[in-house]
């Protein structure tokens, strides 16, 4: 990397002929401006992201009730981790559910959202209406979504059981409740992906498609061979959004039953241990650290893919 970031201070035409690594004249105001541009985000990232994250990792080796000063912290080594893995029955299901959540979101709602976007992009009659209808769940507040699905899923008074004539306990039976919730979460996720993808499709140069059509490519071939490669940045965003959504999945489950009985997720366990009345700060931090490590794995894979792609 060069000593200074290259800033297009000069007009584009003037900058164009300059060789790579050429000097840019930086005035005093620019220096201050640049310094601020670097310092403010750094302070924010360090203060609000890194310090809390490091504090969590440090606290995960402690036992602390969260009440009283820092001198009441007891350091107990890796005991919290030992307890998480061997002495905490909700942990294994939580891990499994997070993985199921990720795979499910990828396989159904994400692909379905892309499919919807492609359909809506073809200017069907009433496109606007469908667009709004599919996007509505994303706009709705979570409390409202919980309420809507409660009406559908309630065992005794719900729509679904009334229509099907069944007596399935959609939220209470731990064999089905995760899937019931995934449908609700997917309902929201598909609309989100649809909008993202639709925005991307609108940006694809129509001449590319025309060229493909002239060359004799069909609809499907055009999409897979021309549109999809052009959409690479959007595809990456969609993947990232899906991974993030499945790792931070929390609110809908929390609204339903605080993440117990078949709906355990690592995020709900962290909350139940740290935020709630329980205050097992150290134990909860150990769970949070495990979650951080899992996220880091995904982030590393993602970043390395993107950087490799960019270098190409």
């Amino acid at each position: 990397m060069s000593d200074l970031p290259t800033v297009p201070t000069a007009p584009a035409e003037a900058a164009a002929p300059r060789r790579r690594g050429g000097r840019v004249r930086v005035t005093g105001t620019d220096r201050i401006f640049l310094a601020l541009m670097v310092i403010i985000p750094t302070v924010m990232v360090v203060g609000w992201v890194w310090l809390p994250a490091i504090a969590s990792v440090v606290l995960s080796f402690a036992r602390w009730s969260g009440v009283g000063g820092l001198d009441t912290i007891q350091w107990i080594g890796t005991e919290n981790y030992k307890n998480v893995f061997t002495n905490y029955p909700p942990f294994a299901p939580a891990l499994r559910h997070n993985v199921i959540w990720l795979v499910f979101l990828f396989v159904l709602p994400t692909l379905f959202g892309i499919f919807l976007a492609v359909l809506l992009d073809r200017e069907l009659r009433g496109t606007r209406f469908y667009q709004t209808a599919f996007f509505l769940p994303v706009v709705l507040s979570l409390a409202l979504i919980g309420f809507i699905w409660q009406l559908i899923y309630s065992r005794d008074q719900g729509l679904l059981n009334a229509v099907l004539g069944t007596q399935v306990d959609w939220y209470g039976d731990s064999r089905v409740n995760l899937w019931a919730v995934l449908v609700a979460a997917g309902w929201k996720h598909a609309g989100y992906i649809m909008l993202l993808y639709l925005a991307g499709l609108k940006g694809v140069d129509p001449s590319l498609r025309e060229a493909a059509t002239v060359d004799g490519a069909g609809q499907v071939r055009t999409f897979f061979s021309v549109v999809l490669p052009v959409m690479r940045p959007i595809n990456i965003i969609v993947i990232v959004v899906t991974v993030i959504e499945s790792l931070r999945a929390f609110d809908i489950v929390w609204v339903i039953n605080k993440g117990t009985n078949g709906l355990e997720l690592i995020s709900t366990l962290v909350t139940a241990n740290v935020v709630g009345e329980a205050s097992r700060i150290g134990f909860g931090s150990a769970l949070a650290t495990i979650m951080l490590v899992i996220s880091l794995v995904f982030i590393t894979i993602f970043l390395s893919t993107v950087m490799r792609g960019e270098r190409r």
Binding site: R63, V67, Q167, D169, G172, D173, N261, N273, A278
Partner: protein, 443 residues
Amino acid sequence: MSRPRSESEYLAHLIPPSVAAAGLSRRGFLKGTLSAGAAVSLSSLLAACGGGDGGGGSASQEVTFGSNQSDAVPKKAYADMLAASGLTVKVNTVDHEGFQENINNYLQGNPDDVFTWFAGYRMRFFAAQGLVGDLSDVWGGLSGFSEAFKQASTGDDGKQYFVPLTIYPWAIFYRKSVWEEKGYQPPKTLDELVTLAKQMQKDGLVPIAFADKDGWPAMGTFDQLNLRINGYQFHVDLMAGKQAWDSPQVKKVFDTWRGLLPYHQKDALGRDWQEAAQSLLKKESGMYLLGMFVGQQFPKGKEQDDLDFFAFPEIDPAIGTGAIEAPIDGFMMRAKPKNEEGAKQLLKYLGTAKAENIALKADPTVIGASSEADTASYTTLQKKAVEFIGSAESIAQFLDRDTRPDFAATVMLPGIQSFLKNPNDVDGLTKSLESQKKSIFTS
């Protein structure tokens, strides 16, 4: 560790003689009304004084009040009660469960001068941490509380930190009209309960309404069985971490419960207690083991009067049915309140029968903690609760009020839910509970 000792002591003595004395006799009524009248005049006098010495400014200054009474009915009762205090009270109402969950942050942040809380382990813990204010001098001015309530309000250091307002019992509730029509009698033993449940199934009723979506209502069932099978002292020791969860005693509780599960409403883990109470209201189920707040789901008047209850039947004749569960709700004051004089004045008022009478008017599913509370306006259900609590030999609070909250929330809650999902693996469950208990109770 003085905590478990004092807990057992205070709970053992927790028989409000006031409540026993109030009874149903005419004399009791008269006495109650008379003293209530006296209390009213006394507190109005106090209020008048407070208003008078405006120079000190304590009464005219605002007292902040944190309330967890978020449901419409009790919320209005509290508003009426606080309005009658003669003080300027600013109420900050938080949703009931949220209040409880965030209590740690609340108390360490900027809490209100006076706030709602309940007796039990947690009250004493906050007192020991110095997060709540000493109310010994307020107690000096309170009359009408029995020694048992004073003990229930006392921290480990012997000072008072809590002012009781109301108390309510846990029991098995039923509709009188349904039972009269079918000729059912309250069962006295576990066998009779099973026979009755079988009869109800024949009559097309769900014998025992049941819900545990939120995880805590089933703790009540566990407590009742434990109190009947192993007795009160075992409950106290178990909650204090001094008894093993994989002991034969605890296994017997779960085994007995498994025997009763076929008579419980199915799919309890997807239902909240309000829905289960509705099934009792709609005469779809025959009885419901819950706190007296089940009455909140019954419309006032005819429907509420139709509600009755009986103590959980005897399981072991040597243990009997003397132990019951009756949580006490009340108030605490933050450490170093912004308006200490006003806060104490408010608490003094909240400890009077006048305050209780207003609170009770709106919520007929609790009874007053003060012996001076006006029992004349009590419903049949409340009168029965007075008698029930008064005749109890020992009174427990509730699983999540009697033990460490981290143990109750992160171990017992999922533990009981997993028992309801798979009632057959009692050995595995109790072993896991015990090993988790050890990891938590070491600190």
